[in-house]
C-alpha cells in the first residue's frame, strides 16, 4: 500500500491552525506498512516507542482475596480481581514480587514498606537516604529514551488533595538521585500543561527562554561562591532550570492537545493531613481522564497515576462506594487496616474500584487504532501498590500488567516471579523486567534488578 509521508508541522501549517490546540494521535499517513513512525521524507522509519502507564493503588490488598491459586492461563478470577474477568486473556497477574527497603546498606533490618514503600515502587531503590532514593525512576528513564520531543515526556499525577509533605508518601517519580518530581494534583494545572495556556507564540517562548538564561547566569555565579555542601542544592536547582529549558524547546516542536472540555475549576487543596473535604472521586476521575488524554494525544510517553497518597496519610475517601455510611469512616488507610469480615469486603471493593479505573485507561487506548495495532498494543500498563497485605504492610505486591508492549509481552497468564531457589523475588527484578518490556537498553535497573521474568516475554 502506498502511504504519504508528511511532517506534522507541515500538516498543521497547511490546515492553518498551527498554534491552536489540536489533537494529534499518530496520523495514519505518518505510519509505514509496519506501523513504524515516519518523521520526514528523508528520515529512517522509527518504531513507535512503547508507552508506559503506571497505576498506583496505595495500601495494598487482602492477599487471600487477590492472588489466584492457579498459575498460567488457567488462573481463576478472585473476588478482588473481578473487574478483570472481561479482559482475562489480555492481562497478566504477577505474584511473589516483594518490595525491599533497608535503612542502611549494612543493616539487614527491613523498613516498613507501608510507611516508606513509595520510595521503591518505581526506583528499585533498596537503601534510600534521608533525602530520598537513588534514581531516576523507571518512568523518567523510559521518557528520556522513548519520549524525546514530546510535550510532557514523563507525567506524574496524584489524585489526592492532601498536602502530605513527606516524599516517602507521595513521590513515585524521581528525575535523578534524591530529586523528587512533585506530582501534579490540580486538574487545571494538568489541563494547562496539555492544552496550553498563555503565550505560546514564538515571542512568548523566546521571552521565557531569555528569563531562564538570566537565571542560569545567576546560578553559575552562586555556584562559584557556594561551599561544597550548598553546591548539592544548587545542582538540584540547576537540574530544575535545565528541565524547564528542555520543556521550552519541546514547546516549540510538540503541538498541544485539543481541549477535551472546559478548563477545570481549581480544586481546593486541603492544607493538612486529615480527611477529605472535596469530591474526591470526581477529582480522581478528572485527573485520570487528563492522564488518558496525555497518552492519547501523544503528549507523554510515561504517565504515573497515583490514586492516592500512601501510608498513614492516605485519607482519600471511598465513602461513595458505600452509600449510607458515616462521614470520614471510609478513608483508604482505615479500610486497609479493618480486618473484620465487613472490613475485608470493603477493602476488596476498593481494590475492584481501582482496577476499574485502571481498565478505563486500558479501554481508552484499546479504542485508538495505531498502525496495524492499537495504542494499547504499543503500551505497557502496570498496576501496582507499595505493599502486599495492606493491614500488616506485608509483602507480595498486587501486580497487573496489560498492553502489548509493542509486541513484546505475552498475555493472559498468572506468573509467580520466583528466584532460582524458589523464594519470592525482589521488586528490583520486576522493574528490570518492565524496562525490557519497554524495549530499553539496560542491563540492570535499580539496586540489583538484573533478572527477567521470562514467562512474560513473547
Amino acid at each position: 500500500m502506498k502511504r504519504f509521508t508528511v511532517s506534522r508541522r507541515a500538516l498543521l501549517r497547511a490546515t492553518g491552525i498551527a498554534g491552536a490546540g489540536l489533537t494529534l494521535p499518530t496520523l495514519d499517513a505518518m505510519l509505514d506498512d509496519q506501523g513504524r513512525l515516519v518523521r520526514t521524507a528523508n528520515a529512517q522509519p522509527r518504531a513507535i516507542p512503547t508507552r508506559f502507564f503506571v497505576f498506583f493503588m496505595p495500601n495494598g490488598t487482602h492477599l487471600p482475596k487477590w492472588t489466584p491459586k492457579s498459575l498460567g492461563r488457567a488462573w481463576e478470577v478472585t473476588p478482588a480481581l473481578l473487574p478483570l474477568a472481561r479482559v482475562k486473556d489480555r492481562v497478566n497477574i504477577v505474584s511473589a514480587v516483594w518490595p525491599r527497603l533497608r535503612y542502611h546498606a549494612m543493616n539487614t533490618k527491613e523498613v516498613d514498606v507501608g510507611t516508606h514503600g513509595v520510595l521503591q515502587v518505581l526506583t528499585g531503590a533498596v537503601v534510600p537516604t534521608a533525602r530520598g532514593p537513588a534514581g531516576p525512576s523507571l518512568d523518567q528513564v523510559a521518557a528520556r529514551e522513548l519520549g524525546k520531543g514530546l510535550r510532557l515526556p514523563a507525567l506524574s499525577v496524584c489524585a489526592d488533595e492532601h498536602p502530605v509533605t513527606q516524599f516517602d508518601r507521595k513521590v513515585l517519580s524521581w528525575s535523578a538521585p534524591e530529586t523528587p518530581v512533585e506530582p501534579i494534583r490540580q486538574p487545571r494545572e494538568l489541563f494547562d500543561k496539555l492544552v496550553g495556556l498563555g503565550d505560546q507564540s514564538g515571542a512568548g517562548v523566546a521571552r521565557r527562554r531569555s528569563i531562564l538564561d538570566f537565571m542560569g547566569k545567576d546560578l553559575n555565579r552562586l555556584h562559584s561562591r557556594a561551599g561544597m555542601a550548598d553546591r548539592h542544592r544548587l545542582d538540584e536547582l540547576g537540574t530544575s532550570v535545565r528541565e524547564l529549558e528542555a520543556r521550552i524547546q519541546t514547546l516549540e516542536k510538540a503541538p498541544a492537545c485539543a481541549a477535551p472540555g472546559a478548563r477545570p475549576e481549581p480544586v481546593a487543596m486541603a492544607n493538612a493531613t486529615e480527611f477529605s473535604r472535596i469530591d474526591q472521586p470526581a477529582l480522581a476521575t478528572l485527573l485520570l481522564d487528563l492522564s488518558i488524554l496525555a497518552l492519547r494525544c501523544n503528549a507523554s510517553q510515561s504517565v504515573v497515576y497515583m490514586r492516592g497518597i500512601a501510608g498513614g496519610g492516605s485519607f482519600q475517601s471511598y465513602q461513595h462506594l458505600f452509600p449510607g455510611t458515616r462521614t470520614g469512616s471510609y478513608n483508604h488507610h482505615q479500610v486497609s487496616h479493618d480486618r473484620t469480615p465487613e472490613g475485608i469486603l470493603r477493602h476488596v471493593r476498593v481494590n475492584q474500584y481501582n482496577l476499574e479505573m485502571f481498565l478505563k485507561v486500558f479501554d481508552a487506548l484499546d479504542k485508538a487504532p495505531e498502525g496495524p495495532t492499537t495504542m494499547l498494543g504499543n503500551s505497557l500498563l502496570y498496576f501496582t501498590s507499595e505493599c502486599g497485605e495492606g493491614n500488616n504492610h506485608g509483602y507480595d505486591l498486587p501486580i497487573v500488567l496489560a498492553g502489548g508492549a509493542s509486541g513484546r509481552m505475552r498475555l493472559g497468564e498468572h506468573s509467580k516471579f520466583v528466584a532460582p531457589n524458589g523464594t519470592a523475588i525482589s521488586h528490583t527484578h520486576m522493574l528490570f523486567t518492565l524496562s525490557q518490556l519497554l524495549g530499553l537498553s539496560l542491563t540492570k535497573f535499580g539496586f540489583d534488578g538484573t533478572t527477567r521474568l521470562e514467562s512474560l516475554f513473547v
Binding site: 509533605t165 518530581v181 512533585e182 555565579r221 532550570v241 524547564l244 492544607n271 493538612a272 462521614t327 470520614g328
Partner: protein
C-alpha cells in the same frame, strides 16, 4: 513588588517541622514554574497601567540612566543585597532583548523575582580582619535573617540601608535593630507564625469531625479554636513587661466567643466578639492542653485518640518525636464489644515491640481523656466507663498525675520543656534543625531563658545576639551543621 505575589506559592517540605526547614526543602521544576507564574502575575499587575508602572519604576526607562537605576534598586530588593557589576550588566542585557523599554523593565522585574538568588537564602558570610577564623554573616545577610524571622518578609530598603551602614555589625547593634523591628507594626507576624507552626495550628484547617457525633462542629468553630490559642499566646508574649511563656500551659483564663463559651460551658460574652474569661475550678480548664484547638487537633473523627495527644506533648513541648512504628507490627487484635480506647491501647502495649514508644505517649493521652474529640468535657467514655483523668508522664517526678492541670504542672518542672522551647525557636529562626555543634550555645540560651522567666521576646533577643545567629555555621556535611 516582592510582597505582592498573587497565588500561594508552592511551599513543600520533605520532612516534619517548620516550613522553612532547609534540610527538607528542594526546588523542583514544579516549584520554579510556580515562582515563574507568581512573578509573571505580580509583575503584570504592577505594569498594568501607566500610573502603576511609573510608581514602580519611578522614571521612563527609555531615558538616561533610569533603567539602570531601576535594576539596581529592584535587584537589591529581590536579592536582599547590593548587585555586583556583572549582575547589573546581565540584567541590562536581558532588558534590551526587547525593543520597548517598558517591556524590558517588565521582563527584567519578572526575571529578578524568580532568580535563584531571590528564591534561595544565600549566606556565605565573610571573615573579619579582627576575627579571621570564622565567617560572620554580612550586613545584608543578617538583615534577611532578621526580617524573615521577625516579619516573615524580605528586608525593606530602610533595613538594608541600615545594614549597609554597619548597624548590624555588632551583637548590640543587632539587638537594637531587633527591638525596633519587634515594635514595628509588622513585628508580631514572626512570633504569630512561630506559634501556629510550633503548635500545629495550621493543621486545624483539615480537621474533620463526624457530624452525627458533633453537631456543633463547623468551620467557624474551627476558626474560633485557632483564634483562641493565638490570642492567649499573644496576650502572654506581648505583655509590656514580658510574660512567662510557661503560663501558656497553666493559664486558668482564656479568650472565648459565644461558640467556645458553649463548648467550655462558661457564660458567653455579648455579641460575636472574643472576651476574656476566668475559669472556675469545676470548668477543668487550664492552659494550652485544655484548649479546644489542641484537643481537637489530636483526636480522630469521632473518638479521642490518647496516642495523638501524647505524641503532641512529646513532640511539640518536649522535642521527643516518636520514631516510626517498627516494621513488624503485629496485627492489632479486633476491638471487643464495649472495649474502651484505653483498654485497646493497653493490650497493644503488652507487645514488647510496641511498648517502648506507647509507654511514653499513651499515658499522657489517658490523662486528657476527660475532653472529647472537639474538647468538650466528658465524665464517661462512649462505653459508659468513668474517666478519672489519671495518667502517666514518664520522665516527670512523680510520673503519675490526675487531670490536665497536674499534667501541666509536671511538665513545667521538666528541664526538657525549657530546652525544647529554645530548640523550637532556634529551628524556626535558623530554618534548620540544631546539630551537635550548637549544643553549648543552646544550653546557654536555655539558662538565659530560665533566668528571664521564660520570656519569649527576651529569648529571641538573646538568640539574635548569639554567635549561632550571627556567624555561618562551620562547614557541614549531609545538611547538619
Amino acid at each position: 513588588v516582592g510582597t505582592k505575589l498573587g497565588p500561594r506559592l508552592l511551599v513543600d517540605s520533605l520532612g516534619r517541622g517548620f516550613d522553612n526547614g532547609s534540610d527538607a526543602l528542594a526546588v523542583s521544576a514544579a516549584h520554579l514554574e510556580h515562582f515563574a507564574d507568581a512573578a509573571a502575575l505580580a509583575v503584570a499587575e504592577a505594569f498594568a497601567t501607566p500610573t502603576s508602572r511609573m510608581q514602580l519604576v519611578g522614571c521612563d526607562p527609555g531615558t538616561g540612566t533610569c533603567l539602570r537605576d531601576f535594576i539596581i534598586r529592584l535587584g537589591r530588593r529581590a536579592y536582599r543585597r547590593p548587585l555586583v557589576a556583572d549582575e547589573i550588566a546581565s540584567a541590562l542585557t536581558l532588558a534590551r532583548t526587547v525593543a520597548d523599554a517598558w517591556a524590558g523593565a517588565q521582563l527584567v522585574s519578572e526575571a529578578f523575582l524568580q532568580s535563584p538568588s531571590a528564591i534561595l537564602h544565600v549566606e556565605t558570610g565573610q571573615a573579619r580582619p579582627m576575627d579571621p577564623s570564622r565567617l560572620a554573616l554580612t550586613g545584608p545577610e543578617l538583615a534577611s535573617r532578621l526580617s524573615f524571622l521577625l516579619w516573615r518578609l524580605p528586608p525593606d530598603d530602610t533595613l538594608l540601608d541600615a545594614a549597609a551602614a554597619g548597624a548590624l555589625d555588632t551583637a548590640a547593634g543587632v539587638e537594637t535593630r531587633t527591638r525596633m523591628m519587634l515594635d514595628d507594626p509588622r513585628g508580631r507576624a514572626g512570633l504569630r507564625d512561630f506559634a501556629e507552626q510550633w503548635l500545629h495550628l495550621r493543621n486545624l484547617e483539615g480537621v474533620i469531625r463526624d457530624a452525627n457525633t458533633f453537631p456543633m462542629w463547623n468551620d467557624s468553630l474551627r476558626a474560633s479554636m485557632k483564634e483562641e490559642t493565638r490570642r492567649v499566646f499573644e496576650e502572654i508574649v506581648w505583655r509590656p513587661n514580658g510574660g512567662d511563656l510557661f503560663e501558656l500551659l497553666t493559664a486558668p483564663w482564656s479568650f472565648v466567643n459565644a461558640q467556645l463559651a458553649m463548648l467550655y460551658g462558661v457564660p458567653a460574652p455579648a455579641g460575636a466578639a472574643f472576651a476574656r474569661v476566668d475559669f472556675r475550678p469545676q470548668d477543668e480548664r487550664a492552659g494550652l492542653l485544655t484548649q479546644a484547638a489542641v484537643l481537637a487537633l489530636s483526636a480522630d473523627t469521632d473518638l479521642t485518640t490518647p496516642m495523638y495527644r501524647g505524641m503532641f506533648v512529646r513532640e511539640a513541648l518536649l522535642c521527643q518525636p516518636s520514631p516510626p512504628p517498627p516494621p513488624d507490627i503485629p496485627e492489632p487484635p479486633p476491638a471487643k464489644p464495649g472495649q474502651t480506647p484505653r483498654e485497646r491501647l493497653s493490650e497493644h502495649r503488652s507487645s514488647p515491640s510496641c511498648a517502648g514508644c506507647h509507654e511514653l505517649i499513651d499515658g499522657i493521652g489517658f490523662g486528657l481523656e476527660r475532653y472529647d474529640a472537639i474538647g468538650v468535657r466528658q465524665d464517661r467514655d462512649p462505653q459508659g466507663g468513668l474517666l478519672t483523668g489519671e495518667g502517666t508522664l514518664l520522665g516527670a517526678t512523680p510520673p503519675a498525675f490526675t487531670g490536665a492541670r497536674e499534667l501541666a504542672d509536671r511538665l513545667r518542672t521538666m528541664p526538657e520543656l525549657r530546652d525544647c522551647l529554645v530548640k523550637q525557636v532556634y529551628r524556626f529562626a535558623l530554618g534548620r534543625n540544631e546539630g551537635d555543634g550548637q549544643s553549648c550555645e543552646l544550653t546557654r540560651l536555655g539558662d538565659t531563658f530560665a533566668g528571664d522567666k521564660h520570656d519569649l521576646r527576651k529569648l529571641v533577643l538573646a538568640l539574635v545576639r548569639s554567635d549561632v545567629f550571627r556567624f555561618v555555621a562551620p562547614f557541614r556535611v549531609g545538611g547538619q551543621p
